[in-house]
C-alpha cells in the first residue's frame, strides 16, 4: 500500500471544500434515507449527473457521504414511526419501534447511531486496507480470471439474492441483452440497433440508472394512492438528547453483536452481488437464535444487529469496484458511472494511475462514518418531524425534474431523457413484478467485460474453452459459480421435501 499517497489523500480530505462536501453528503443522506420511498440509489442517480461538472475531490466526498449515511437515516422513521425509510431498516423497525412504544425511543436511536458508526468505521478500515492489496493482486489477473470473476458476480446475485431465483436470472439476462445494443466490442458489428444512429454507441449507462432508480419511483408515486397515511397518523415522539448517549455498560453488552454483525456484513459486502438484505437477515437471525422470544419485544441487540450489518456492507461493497472494477451492488454501479464520468478507470489500475482520488474515496468512507455519529445524534430529533411536513406530491415533482435535467445534462441531448423514460417504465414494471434490479444493473455493467475477456481468452488459448478450467484461479471461481447456481435449486428441493406430509 502507498502510505504517502494515503497520508496526502487524508490531508486533502480534511481540507475545507472536500470536508464540507462530505458533511453535506452525510446530512443529505440522513434526510433522504429517512424519507420512505427514497434511498441512497435514487439520490445517487440524481446526483451523479450533477457531479460531472464538479471536480473529483468535491464530487466523490458528496457521493460517499450520501451512500454512507442513507441506510442509517432509514432507521429514524423505522424506530419512531415503524416505517422503514429504506429497505435496509426493515428489521430495525421490529425491535426499534417496540422500544419506542416502551418509552425508550432515545435509547433505540442511540443504539442505531452507535451501531452504524461502529460497523461503518470498521467496514471503512476493511476498504482502506483490503482494496489496495486486492487491486495489487488483481493486476496479475488475465482475461480468464476476469471472465470467471464476472460470471461469479452474476451467479452470486442470482443464487444469493432474496426472492425468486428465476426472476433474478431473468433480470440478469435482460441486463446482458440491453448491454448488447450497439457495436460489438470484438468485431465492431452493430447489434440490435435497427439502423438507428443513436444506438450505435450503445445505451448510455447514467440515464438508464436515472430511469431505473429515479423515474420508476416517480411512476410509483403517480400511480399509487394519493392520500398519505404517514403524514396524517404518526404522532410526534419526544426524544431527549441525553437518552441517545449510551452508558458504557450498554456499549459493552452490544459489542459482541456489533462485531458479529460487522463480520457478516463485511463478508457479504465484499462478495459482488450478494446484497445488503442478505447480511441484515443473517445478522438478525443470529440474534433471534440467541435471544429467542425476547427478540421483537424491544431488545437492544435487535436494533444493533441489523444496523451494524447494513452499515458494514456499505464500504465493503466498494472493495470489488475499486480493486477489480466490478460493482458489488446497484449503488456501487452508480459509483462506477460517477468514476467513468470523471474520466477515471475503475479497477486495479485506479490505485496506481490516480492514487490521489482512489485513496481520497476510501478515506472519505472513514471520515463519513465518523461524521455520521455527531450528525446522527444531532439530526435524529429534527429529521422525523421535518419529513412529516414535506408533501409527497412535491417530492415526486422535484425528483422528476432532477431526473429529466440529469438525463439531459449527461449528453446534452434529449436522447438521454428518452432512455431514462423508457427505463423508468421498465423499472416500474420490475418493481411491480418483483423482478430484482441489482442483477439487471450488474449484468449491464459487466457484459462488455465478460464479452471482451471471453474473446481474449479464446484467442490466447487458440479457441479452447478448456482454458478457463486449466487456470487455477479461474477454475476455482467457476466452481463457486456452479455452487451458487445450484444453490437455489437445492433450496427448492429441500423445501418441497419438507412440505411433503410425514
Amino acid at each position: 500500500m502507498d502510505y504517502s499517497a494515503l497520508l496526502a489523500a487524508g490531508a486533502h480530505a480534511l481540507s475545507l471544500w472536500p470536508l464540507l462536501s462530505l458533511l453535506a453528503g452525510v446530512s443529505l443522506g440522513l434526510v433522504v434515507g429517512s424519507i420512505p420511498g427514497l434511498n441512497d440509489t435514487i439520490t445517487l442517480a440524481v446526483l451523479v449527473p450533477i457531479t460531472f461538472a464538479l471536480p473529483s475531490d468535491i464530487a466523490f466526498p458528496l457521493l460517499v457521504g450520501v451512500y454512507c449515511s442513507a441506510c442509517f437515516g432509514g432507521a429514524f422513521p423505522a424506530i419512531l414511526l415503524k416505517i422503514p425509510g429504506t429497505a435496509s431498516s426493515v428489521l430495525t423497525a421490529v425491535d426499534g419501534h417496540a422500544m419506542t412504544r416502551q418509552g425508550r425511543a432515545g435509547q433505540a436511536l442511540g443504539i442505531a447511531t452507535y451501531s452504524s458508526t461502529f460497523a461503518g468505521t470498521l467496514s471503512a478500515l476493511v476498504l482502506i486496507f483490503f482494496a489496495p492489496i486486492l487491486a495489487q493482486y488483481a493486476l496479475r489477473f488475465g482475461p480468464a480470471e476476469y471472465f470467471a470473476l464476472c460470471i461469479l458476480g452474476l451467479s452470486t446475485v442470482v443464487g444469493m439474492g432474496a426472492g425468486n431465483a428465476m426472476k433474478s436470472a431473468l433480470a440478469c439476462l435482460l441486463g446482458l441483452l440491453v448491454a448488447m445494443i450497439g457495436m460489438s466490442p470484438e468485431s465492431g458489428y452493430p447489434r440490435f440497433t435497427s439502423g438507428n444512429f443513436w444506438l450505435y454507441e450503445g445505451l448510455p449507462l447514467t440515464p438508464i440508472l436515472i430511469g431505473l432508480f429515479g423515474l420508476s419511483v416517480v411512476f410509483e408515486m403517480l400511480s399509487s394512492e394519493r392520500s398519505d397515511a404517514r403524514d396524517k397518523g404518526a404522532d410526534e415522539v419526544p426524544v431527549r438528547f441525553a437518552d441517545m448517549l449510551l452508558p458504557w455498560s450498554m456499549v459493552r453488552r452490544l459489542l459482541p453483536t456489533w462485531l458479529n454483525a460487522s463480520a457478516l456484513g463485511n463478508l457479504v459486502g465484499v462478495l459482488p452481488g450478494a446484497g445488503m438484505l442478505v447480511a441484515i437477515y443473517m445478522a438478525y437471525e443470529r440474534v433471534r437464535r440467541k435471544f429467542g422470544e425476547r427478540c421483537g419485544q424491544g431488545l437492544p441487540e435487535g436494533v444493533a444487529a441489523p444496523e451494524a450489518a447494513n452499515n458494514s456492507v456499505v464500504a465493503s461493497s466498494m472493495v470489488p469496484l475499486l480493486s477489480l472494477g466490478i460493482p458489488g451492488n446497484s449503488t456501487s454501479a452508480l459509483f462506477l458511472g460517477a468514476l467513468l464520468i470523471q474520466g477515471l478507470r475503475p479497477g486495479p489500475s485506479l490505485f496506481t494511475d490516480t492514487p490521489d482520488i482512489a485513496y481520497l474515496i476510501v478515506l472519505c468512507f472513514l471520515i463519513a462514518n465518523l461524521a455520521m455519529f455527531p450528525l446522527g445524534l444531532l439530526l435524529a430529533r429534527i429529521i422525523p418531524n421535518m419529513i412529516r411536513s414535506v408533501p409527497r406530491a412535491l417530492l415526486a415533482a422535484a425528483i422528476a425534474c432532477l431526473c429529466f435535467t440529469g438525463a439531459f445534462a449527461i449528453g446534452n441531448s434529449v436522447f438521454g431523457i428518452m432512455v431514462a423514460l423508457a427505463f423508468g417504465i421498465i423499472g416500474f414494471m420490475f418493481n411491480r413484478l418483483q423482478v430484482p434490479l441489482s442483477p439487471f444493473i450488474l449484468a449491464l455493467v459487466l457484459a462488455p467485460v465478460i464479452e471482451r475477456a471471453f474473446f481474449q481468452s479464446m484467442s490466447l488459448s487458440g479457441g479452447s474453452v478448456a482454458y478457463f478450467v486449466t487456470q487455477p484461479l479461474s477454475a476455482a471461481m467457476l466452481l463457486f459459480t456452479l455452487i451458487f447456481m445450484v444453490w437455489p435449486l437445492g433450496k427448492l428441493i429441500i423445501r418441497r421435501r419438507r412440505q411433503v406430509p410425514g
Binding site: 441483452l177 460489438s184 403517480l222 406530491a393
Partner: protein
C-alpha cells in the same frame, strides 16, 4: 379513488405472462442474431437460448409476489402523457418551460392542490435548477430563462 389491478391477473399468472414475454423475446433475439457474423452473434445466440430457458423455468416455477393491485391507471397514463409532452417541450421550447410544466403536472397528478402556491413553488424550483446547473456547475441548459444563467 378507485383502486384496481392494472392487469386482472393473479401474481401466479402475471409471472406466467412474464414467462411468455421472455419466450417471445428469446425467440426474437435468436432470429435477429442469426443474421450476425459469428464473432458478433455468438453471445446474443447464447443469450437467446438462455432467455427461452428462463421463460420455460418461470412458467414451471412462477412466483407469488408479483402485484399489479392498487395501481391508479389514470395517474399512470396521465403521467406518461405529461412526460411525452415535456419531452417535446424540452426539444422545442427549452428546459425552463418543460421543467415548469413537469413540476406542476407531477405535483397535480400526485394530489397536490393546483393554485398560486404550486405555481410559485414550481417557478422557484425551476429557477433553482437552472441556477445550479447553468450558474454553479456550468452545464448549459436550453431555454430563454436558463440562457441568462449560462451567460
Amino acid at each position: 379513488m378507485t383502486q384496481r389491478r392494472l392487469f386482472a391477473l393473479s401474481s401466479h399468472w402475471l409471472d406466467r405472462g412474464l414467462s411468455l414475454v421472455c419466450l417471445a423475446l428469446g425467440a426474437g433475439v435468436l432470429m435477429i442474431a442469426k443474421g450476425y457474423p459469428t464473432s458478433a452473434g455468438a453471445l446474443p445466440m447464447i443469450l437467446g437460448w438462455l432467455l427461452m430457458g428462463c421463460g420455460i423455468g418461470l412458467w414451471l416455477f412462477p412466483g407469488k409476489r408479483a402485484d399489479m393491485r392498487n395501481v391508479r391507471i389514470g395517474g399512470l397514463l396521465w403521467g406518461m402523457a405529461v412526460f411525452v409532452a415535456v419531452l417535446w417541450l424540452f426539444a422545442s421550447l427549452g428546459a425552463d418551460v418543460a421543467l415548469f410544466v413537469l413540476f406542476v403536472g407531477c405535483a397535480v397528478l400526485s394530489g397536490y392542490p393546483p393554485g398560486l402556491r404550486l405555481v410559485a413553488t414550481a417557478l422557484l424550483f425551476v429557477i433553482l435548477v437552472g441556477a445550479i446547473f447553468g450558474g454553479l456547475l456550468g452545464v448549459p441548459l436550453p431555454g430563454p430563462v436558463f440562457a441568462l444563467f449560462s451567460a
